[in-house]
Amino acid sequence: MISHEELMWKYLDGECTAEEKNHADMLMKSDSGFRMMYDQYSKLDSLLAKTTYQEPTAEFKIKLTETLAASLTKVRPVNQLKWIVSPAWLIILTVAGAIGLIVAGLSTSSSASVFQYFNMPDQRIFSMVTLVCAGFVLLSLLDLFLKKSFIKNRGVTAIMA
């Protein structure tokens, strides 16, 4: 059971359930203390709603626009060249490499010949490139995972410094 005070604010905010609203309506009819509370709280509520927002003056806005425009320098977006280092390229390379290795593995008939196949210099380079790409993909995914919390916090801290 919620307190009368809690019920009153829910009633004024229009957040009461049907049951709570019926209860409040009943108290409004029968309880003079609740009615008095309603008068006081609704007055406070409408006063807060009317006066909380304070519009900055027009002069201040003009001065602010001028100050900001004067300080304006062309800001280069941090992520302008993002597409070049996009993890998408690494993912494509890794998937292509993995498919290549699987096809090569399937096209050989025995484990001995698989070993021979991957022991060839050009295939070793191919396997290495695929593994490096896979490593980059994993690091990129880790970066994406940490980016939101880490960079966001660091960004705000740097601004405040």
Binding site: L44, L64, L68, S71, M160
Partner: protein
């Protein structure tokens, strides 16, 4: 209601994207749009922490300069409003730490604002009463109360801006309004 919310949300996303891209390439029109769309929000966050008009204006300008300076590092996928909120809140807290004890400048500036009409004077008196009332809360509660009414009681929006959970916001909101209700009778007499 839900469709309306989605529509507004989509509009905001498109607007945000345009402003952020414009600021990144140094477009002056984007600066004007940035001031037009976000100065009110940033000013109100700063004002609720500082409760002082001149300092809130200074903090707002400082916040917007910081946003402009750091826009290259903004993660385009995240909420620009939430990013601005974090910078504004921290900037205002920094200002508050070095704030000098002042007389109630707010009351004077609120009255200077009225333009002489009776409605204006009543509005200024209400504003002064609310500002005095808000002094009973800590900075975070004042900002949450402000966002609650600023975002038309939309908890989800406050969740996105502040990064707090729904239940946390509701608890802070309840405690803050309870405290305000406790002190309100003193100020209602004046209003």
């Amino acid at each position: 209601m839900r469709n309306q919310y989605r529509h507004t949300y989509m509009q905001e996303v498109i607007l945000q994207e345009g402003i952020v891209k414009g600021l990144m390439i140094g477009d002056r029109k984007a600066v004007a749009a940035f001031v037009d769309q976000y100065s009110g929000f940033i000013y109100n966050v700063c004002h609720k922490v500082l409760l002082n008009r001149p300092e809130a204006e200074e903090a707002t300008q400082d916040t917007m300069l910081k946003v402009l300076k750091a826009i290259g590092g903004f993660d385009v996928g995240s909420s620009f409003k939430a990013w601005c909120y974090t910078i504004a809140y921290r900037t205002a807290i920094d200002y508050q730490r070095r704030q000098r004890p002042t007389t109630d400048v707010e009351a004077v500036s609120a009255l200077a604002w009225t333009g002489g009409s009776d409605d204006g004077i009543l509005q200024a008196e209400n504003r002064t009463a609310v500002t005095s009332l808000l002094r009973h809360l800590d900075e975070e509660s004042r900002v949450i109360i402000s966002l609650f009414y600023l975002e038309e009681k939309n908890i989800r929006e406050i969740e996105e801006i502040t990064g707090l959970t729904e239940s946390n916001i509701k608890i802070k909101l309840f405690r803050a309004r309870k405290e305000l209700a406790r002190h309100a009778p003193k100020y209602f007499e004046k209003v």
